[in-house]
Symmetry: C2
Subunit: 620 residues, 2 copies
């Protein structure tokens, strides 16, 4: 979004007193922040309308076949895909901060939902409603920044794994195989095991659709921007290729359905087809808060929510993650900036209202957003056109959807998820930062078990790496007679024991060995402390200059341990001098009134102070 949520810059108000200005901007500007449509609608131009119309129709023709196909992935009747595909356009148009993002059913979301809803639309719709509530609440609490903790390797790991899982899951539909297990590894086994049972017509149609889609995709990518001075007929041909390849999903599904229809009306059941679907628009009704099973048992809201379990965390977060990642990518490509929290608010609202029209959880779709952006959409109004096309399909085309061959939908999905499998990324991690392969691989491999487990494990691994860096800062030790120890990063409580142990070993103990203590240490009186349990340092103890110029803050644990460390240096007649402390850290240490605390501006001054023993006069 262009404006921060509470943009009170005086630029917005006109003339008048400061109070007026603040009042003015805190009303309209705040409203505009929550309703970005107020920012662009008043400036809407007719040239934009043409572009929005073209983009809206193109995306609509991609949305309808994808929505039907993804409903299959989610384990729901196909019409639920369309139920989920139109609310986003209306809501996002009002609340969205990106011109490109298209909300609706997506491959990964469908895969995740399939796990939690167990083919039951009641669970799907309730999950949508609750996810919406959670996302909206997160937006109101500005919790969108939690996504900062999902690193790039984790995102890539689960996207690659999901692409394989989803893509491979469609092989059975592409080949017309029956009785294939749902669990990925069993699915792979079953698919290969039952390969001889493939239905030939399905397989032929599926592979034909797949080749058509691949060919059109390749044609589009080889098109490139032409010079401006092409003759009219060349430009027309280029335009045609572009148009055909852009609506390729619709084209392929329509052709396949036509073929299937012509067989079916002559009584020949050649292809595995979608079959009966509910016709017409969904009714607008409150989401179900209880369910009555066929044998009359009533499942209460509490039980439904318990069954959804951690889906109530995974689905809202993944919806948020996917949508924001896409919005950011296209905002960056098209040179604008989105507002993460407002995006979250828009998704949440779409899900809440979507649950009233029997939608399953939606998020931003990468493929359709790319189509939208490439077709040159100008404002989110394009989404309204897309939604209208979906609604028209629901109202008038549902009887025809009966004839859609499942193999053609499978081909659409396989082509949609293939680009998600970005294997180049492994080489990039290897070249730039090998350690990042660890969270990537953990996420990737565990995602085949369950995508959500993969993500959780990946976040945990990258969190551990993060904490390891905090707990084990690199210490550069230089020997100038006096030891100069430089901390390469911050100093927080998990690092303190490590620092203290290192200083103690390097400066005070060296490599030392337990010794019988000399007799004069053993005081005769039993009520005094005696120290026979000590060690003979290999080298004499040395003073230390601790260069803290990279330390940006300390906590009480650090202060407490430093006090102890200073005492130990003092006991051995050596000193520990701090250098390069920032103002705030120095203040914290002075407030702690550490005994024998010395601070110098630079390492040189510190060394001088130690060697000349002149530092006793310049405390603080």
């Amino acid at each position: 979004m262009m404006e921060p949520l509470l943009d009170c810059s005086p630029l917005e108000g006109g003339s008048g007193t400061m109070r007026d200005k603040v009042a003015a901007c805190c009303s309209f500007s705040t409203l505009k922040a929550w309703l970005p449509i107020l920012g662009w609608l008043p400036k809407y131009q007719l040239t934009w309308l043409r572009m929005d119309l073209i983009a809206g129709i193109t995306v609509g023709l991609t949305t309808v076949p994808q929505a039907l196909a993804y409903a299959e992935v989610a384990g729901l009747p196909v019409q639920y895909g369309l139920y989920s595909a139109f609310m986003g356009g209306f809501i996002y148009c009002i609340f969205g901060t990106s011109k490109d993002v298209t909300l609706g059913p997506t491959a990964i979301m469908s895969l995740l939902c399939a796990f939690y809803i167990g083919n039951d639309p009641v669970y799907a719709v309730l999950l949508t409603f609750l996810s919406g509530i959670i996302q909206t609440s997160m937006a109101l609490l500005s919790l969108g920044s939690l996504l900062d903790f999902i690193s790039y390797p984790v995102i890539k790991g689960f996207t690659c794994a999901a692409a394989i899982t989803i893509g491979f899951g469609q092989i059975k539909n592409l080949l017309g195989l029956q009785n294939i297990s749902q669990q990925f590894f069993l699915e792979v086994y079953d698919t290969f095991h039952r390969l001889p049972e493939a239905r030939v017509p399905d397989a032929v149609l599926g592979l034909l659709c797949l080749s058509a889609l691949v060919t059109l995709t390749l044609m589009k990518s080889s098109l490139g921007p032409g010079p401006d001075d092409l003759p009219v007929h060349v430009r027309g041909a280029r335009g045609l290729v572009w148009a055909l390849s852009t609506v390729r999903n619709a084209l392929v599904v329509i052709c396949a359905t036509g073929l299937s229809y012509s067989f079916e009306v002559t009584g020949q059941h050649v292809f595995t087809i979608t079959g009966h679907t509910a016709a017409g628009l969904p009714s607008f009704q409150a989401p179900p808060f209880s369910e009555t099973t066929p044998n009359g048992t009533v499942i209460t809201f509490r039980e439904l929510a318990q069954d959804l379990g951690d889906g109530l965390i995974v689905i809202p977060l993944m919806g948020l993650l996917e949508s924001i990642a896409i919005a950011k990518a296209f905002a960056s490509q098209n040179n604008y900036r989105i507002n993460g929290n407002q995006e979250l608010f828009a998704i949440g609202l779409t899900n809440i209202l979507g649950s009233f029209v029997s939608a399953y959880p939606v998020t931003g779709s990468f493929g359709r957003t790319a189509v939208n952006s490439q077709t040159g959409v100008c404002t989110p109004a394009g989404g309204i056109i897309t939604s209208v096309i979906v609604l028209l399909s629901l109202a008038f085309l549902m009887p025809l959807f009966y004839y859609i061959p499942k193999a053609s939908l499978a081909a659409v999905i396989i082509c949609a998820v293939t680009p998600m499998f970005d294997y180049h990324v492994v080489a990039k991690f290897w070249r730039v930062k090998k350690l990042d392969l660890l969270p990537f691989l953990v996420t990737f491999l565990l995602s085949f078990w369950q995508v959500q487990y993969g993500i959780v494990a990946g976040v945990a691994v990258s969190g551990c790496l993060l904490l390891y860096h905090v707990a084990r800062p690199q210490l550069k030790v230089r020997d100038h007679g006096v030891l100069v120890v430089e901390l390469d990063s911050g100093l927080r409580f998990p690092a303190m024991q490590y620092l203290s142990q290192t200083l103690f070993t390097k400066a005070l103990m060296g490599e030392c060995h337990l010794s019988a203590t000399s007799k004069d240490n053993l005081r005769p009186s039993v009520y005094d402390v005696v120290i026979p349990w000590s060690c003979v340092p290999v080298s004499p103890p040395r003073s230390v200059v601790l260069d803290c110029c990279h330390v940006s803050g300390v906590d009480y644990t650090v202060v407490n341990e430093l006090r102890d460390l200073l005492r130990q240096f003092q006991q051995r007649g050596e000193v520990l001098v701090f250098t390069g402390l920032s103002h705030s850290v120095l203040q914290d240490l002075l407030k702690a009134e550490l005994p024998d605390f010395e601070h110098m501006e630079s390492v040189e001054a510190g060394l001088q102070a130690v060697s000349g023993k002149t530092f006793h006069d310049c405390h603080g």
Copy 2:
């Protein structure tokens, strides 16, 4: 411990080839690292024996009454306290790396165990065995450093809360109150509500014991080190006071038991007494791996372990935490260094073997370790003396323990836990680092619900504060025409979005407003990207010098976002120059082959490069 676990320093071997030296040190030195007794026993001196004997006996006289009392806290028959108190001395003598630490039942551990074992010794002994296995495994995997993530405020928070919980829990025994609830808040209510029902003899005895203990403690603390030239009778008097106050627990319990005995033998049941206990030494037998309930049902090992639940994490970790904290404190005070992993190994082994003599989980006891240190113990051999005293009590004194008044044990516990309630710490946090009050208070308050919940919540809060610092580094922005942005600490993936957003807003967008784009942006062809959705910057875009001298490392997420950021600067004709990168970070960024990447040694060079636009010749 004095030696690192794999100390292969050539100092250890004699003459001979390098290979011989390595072979020699990797056998005996490694063995000595695992068996620290080999380090000190060969050097054992007779003078040490005298000190160890005195200390061992003194600690033994404290251990016996405390062990009996803490068993009460753990909800077990009193003899279990003694069963738990002798194994530590033998094991720690062989494997321990501190001369002072005394392992045995402690107040906090007893409180924690009470929650998990539900007054059933079978659960207690199994918990000991499993905790020992977990602790030993952790030691072998060098996981002791996990404790680094428990910060000082969290430790103080739970210690203070535990002191109040344990101390207040003994008021009912001190006053002879009956039917008091276990849950802390109900306990407080019940105790005050039933105050009029207090048994007068118990209350009188309890308060007498308490005043005796307090008086003796005060006498000891006011004793101080006297001058060396005192006359013999003054020194004798001082020695007597010191001895009496050191064995005050035993003294008070013996006197109270004598009083109670004299009443009981005359048939008068005046005090609430301990009652029947199992006599004699515990049998040496494998810990129970199943339990048969009175009605004949067999509870399997699996069920027992499930019932223990998160106790299998809490008890080993808290045991470790308490013991290491104590070992470190006394090592620091007495000028030696312990080895955390070896300490963990010693506790784990003590628990494993303890479970064969029906012990409940043990750890280092602060109070008894302090007595040990103050009495001038020279080696861990003192622990053997202590253990022998406990064994002798078990063998011969158990019939007398029947008569110990519960009020006297309550007084012992109250006096033992009072110093743990360190309320000064709040003022210290307030003065030095107010933010550290948050984890302290969270831990403190939640610990009244359950100590383990308090600790978990406290660790979580301090972890969140830590991650917040990582995710939101301070950015110092200075305006030299060109913006100079200085990162105050490391740059890891959670901080990257924040940095990128800040740079974008400050340098490229300013406060900007959505605009109708000028027509020339709108290309006529539909298959080219158009960008009408952009904003008019209030101020013109500016170049940035990013001072990374505090950045110690980057990950792939950072590199990836920097690539995007560089592209955005380049699109607007501005530059983003990095300065002060360390060698390793620079290498990582060069490996990533970022387009338009510029690096300068210093901010001045960076500024010059930007303003003179001379930087195009000095890539990398």
